[in-house]
Symmetry: D2
Subunit: 318 residues, 4 copies
């Protein structure tokens, strides 16, 4: 069954929010997303009425999320699968920015504010997308290299379920539930596995990036709107951290602080996977991953950092 979904309300948290739609394992969702700043396909900002809000408290306005989707039969301890079938960029522009107190080259504290040094100036960049040729460009008047044309690689910056232990997290935060991982591996051709911690899973997503460098250095990628096509499934087995599978790799996305812990989580969990599902001996798994593993620093800017550890599928037994 195919569900077409156009949000009338956007969420700013991963948590037990009221389901927007109930779907079944095997169903396909076709849904739109606005960008990380809340701009839709026409470049218009969603209104405050369209956002998760409450007279009791304030929500952080970044990364409005589409959903939540309640997956029938999903129980805590299960694994939700999301096959990413299509990401269509729905407008010809994407914005980015150097932020004053955000990004991989500022302080690491929450809010990343620098009291003592003056903050770096905020600069906004408007990139033009050429969706025919799958490229983006921008004018850098002050630089010697003026009009770079860079390749697009659209992926889902934020996608997750309700977190473990009754927690509610901001849409900006990645964790064991997925979330704002900003991992370029979460693109068409990949299937994402997420650990279910709340009945129905409560899947939300948004924050599409048309392109991004490793680590999302300045804290903002090429932010744009999209229409997504996702196929959901359910596995009655438990995983601890998000897994990504494509034709060539099995991968684990670890999110934590400091950066080294994200690295360790991703690699620990990948080794556990090699042992449990693929019959590797514990020490052989460590040895083999040490020689053929690859890893990506997905983000160094969010409240948790994300590292993706990768093992080539060609070294898995049938």
């Amino acid at each position: 069954m195919i569900h077409r979904f156009q949000p009338t309300k956007y969420y700013h948290t991963y948590g037990p929010n009221h389901p927007a739609l109930r779907v079944s394992p095997g169903d396909t969702i076709i849904a739109t997303t606005v960008d990380a700043g809340g701009l839709d396909q026409d470049g218009n900002k969603i209104t405050d009425e369209m956002r998760q809000s409450s007279p009791e408290t304030l929500y952080s306005p970044s990364n409005p999320l589409t959903g939540p989707f309640y997956v029938e039969g999903a129980e805590p301890g299960d694994t939700l699968t999301v096959e990413i079938q299509r990401i269509t960029l729905t407008r010809p522009t994407a914005w980015s920015a150097n932020a004053s107190n955000f990004g991989g080259l500022t302080e690491e504290a929450p809010g990343r504010r620098l009291l003592l040094n003056d903050p770096i100036p905020r600069t906004r960049y408007e990139w033009a997308l050429d969706r025919e040729n799958n490229t983006a460009t921008i004018n850098f008047p002050g630089s010697r290299f003026k009009n770079p044309v860079i390749p697009l690689h659209p992926f889902i910056g934020s996608i997750g379920v309700a977190p473990r232990y009754g927690r509610v997290e901001m849409s900006l935060t990645p964790g064991e539930y997925g979330g704002n991982m900003d991992s370029p591996e979460v693109c068409v051709g990949s299937t994402l596995h997420l650990p279910v911690s709340w009945k129905g899973g409560l899947l939300v997503f948004g924050d599409i990036h048309a392109a991004q460098g490793d680590g999302e250095l300045c804290g903002v990628a090429l932010e744009t709107s999209s229409e997504l096509q996702l196929k959901v499934g359910l596995i009655k087995e438990q995983i601890e951290w998000p897994r990504v599978i494509n034709d060539d790799w099995i991968m684990v996305a670890g999110s934590s602080r400091p950066l080294m812990e994200a690295f360790k989580i991703a690699h620990f969990e990948l080794i556990k996977w090699l042992i449990t599902d693929y019959g590797y001996d514990r020490w052989d798994a460590l040895q083999m991953l040490s020689q053929v593993g690859r890893c990506t620093i997905a983000n160094t800017v969010d409240p948790n950092y994300t590292v993706v550890a990768k093992f080539p599928r060609k070294y898995l037994p049938e």
Copy 2:
């Protein structure tokens, strides 16, 4: 007005849980707490029915919290004050433990599990409290020094309000809302200031420690039950992180990862405080704190680590 409160339900999250009692600024709360493992004054474990629970998800069972207390008039952006007037230990024992995958000398990843090394054996320790003489003792049969008698210093391990941005945090986690800071400075004679992020503030507390070393090295202090007397107040000003004031010091508790970030937050915020409230020049504040500041590592074991930065009150203008 004095409110006597005996919980019938304990909470495992900091968040917008249903208020157990409404109090007004200036009121005093006298309430009991169970220990971090859920043992009451008779050493009996609270039942599952007495815990925050849901058919939809699972909660982490550590650190059951008393509350929430809704403070009339408290709005997001206000500051809640809690004067700690009395901590009465309500049983003659406290327990501690070396945990298998927890503590400052294990890995730093969430869950702190070590896949590759075998975990350290769990060992439980039962300390006898002498509440007359304010000491504790234990038998170490395998050690040359057999029966240490150590001083008690009771304090509140976990105390906080509902977090910023609609987040819900586990009772194990400290943050900008207070929480499981495990800071020995939160003891009788101190007043704790917390930033209100949710209408009513929604104060909860528990996890009393009869004694604890710096950093809470093994992850478990002398855990016991108590009766607390707290006086709440309200200030119509905004703070970013918990502050603690006693006769000698003004203090800020920063909680984050890595440890250096907790250190930076605490010191940043203390300098901001010296500038804003006490008329210190920005650079003089840095210089003066550098020469007379003290700081405590409160915990190195929770999902965020806590550092308390301290400035002597004698160097504040009238």
Copy 3:
């Protein structure tokens, strides 16, 4: 001029050791190296007499280095360039190991010893190299996937000059002088730039890896012996950290702790390079690198960790 060099003595430090050979900018060095454990092309261990030694102190025996080469005219503040023209593996085997207290999944302390947990068992692995087909294989009897055949990618694990400020570093340590970076980018087709801090530069190298995964997870790659052909040059300009240039990328290798600092150094220095040499505006450089940069975690196991930040040459002006 071409210098053929067969060491009779191997060094265990980066520092002002007595030059083995004087060469001039533009000269080519053809020299052999033993592996990280001191095994030569016949699998024989070099003798103690062939190692840097002293009756006054002890040296760490890892990573014996070939050299030092004194480059005529090199002064502190200059840049030494090393074009890697050939890496010939000189024996049909490489060894690796899971070490007890070493590697990216152990503690981070120097020596990485775990007092409280028991150490992981040491396991040695002997890989067979097929130098015709550029592959390696091994027998994993205890694992379901038995005989992986993996591609070779030979590179120089350790290469550096005498460090800044009169320091002497172990051959195991990477830093601003290069050293044990364990970066797969230091391979044939690349030119390495190193900051000269001591008259003559005093270049040393060794520790060839036939293959290695990102981060050198278990701490040991496919360790083997080699013959290298390197062309040295001299630039009368100052750099702060090692740079690597190949046909597609300009790169900076940052080495520090924690891992995030290695990341920051590499990216800071790459942005400075874009500004200084390529006319990028400061903020445009940050924005552009954020969208097209790639980065590799080279090692997470040495006394400093190494991250390599990369910028595509196609976005550089002529």
Copy 4:
């Protein structure tokens, strides 16, 4: 035997520099030191000719050190003891400064330079010392609190031997050899134990601080000149990290990065000491230290950070 020593040359490295004086275990050294900036008791800067220098390279000019003292009979694997008997401040002033790219509230990278943010302005502070009353004061014209009078607590900022494995370290760097630990515990009444790694030990010291807050936040304490009286001794046993003993505490100083690793090293080594020398069971040692241990963050500004872990002597068996 008492040796009076007035340096004619100051060293900028911990390493195998030429001994200035040979002493025997049991001897007392009375020697002068200049401050971290090279100012002597008259406030005059030492000349370039009086500094460690070489036509071959450059040395970092901070923290000029008095020594080296060759201790007869000291062999690699031994422990050198230094009893601090007297610290006499030899001038009535001390200077401090907020540095542009240094200190606990800047970036953590070596050199700590911030490319993207503008650096904080350098501000120099001249403190007046009242050596009669053991206080210091300064004029803060721009601040509301004008003339703070703070207590003096003189200690040795930098003291160490030649490092392990033939390394040479800058006088700014602390490590397993001691060095620039900036630990207030290294004061009169304490005995420092250092691991000997080079024949004769090669003790150097300097960088006296008249006062300092925890963590040495701005990177500069109250820097002044001194005359020291130290009694050296030798123990034929091996230690791994510096130990400090006074009437009340046994302590270990761990120096590393990130800060958490310095914390772990100090506590690991303190537990090992409790087991080996005092007959504590491994798990009891962890439990006991967890309840009664104290720790100090000595510095968060040097190339390695230093944490001092402390255990009360009253809980040691006779």
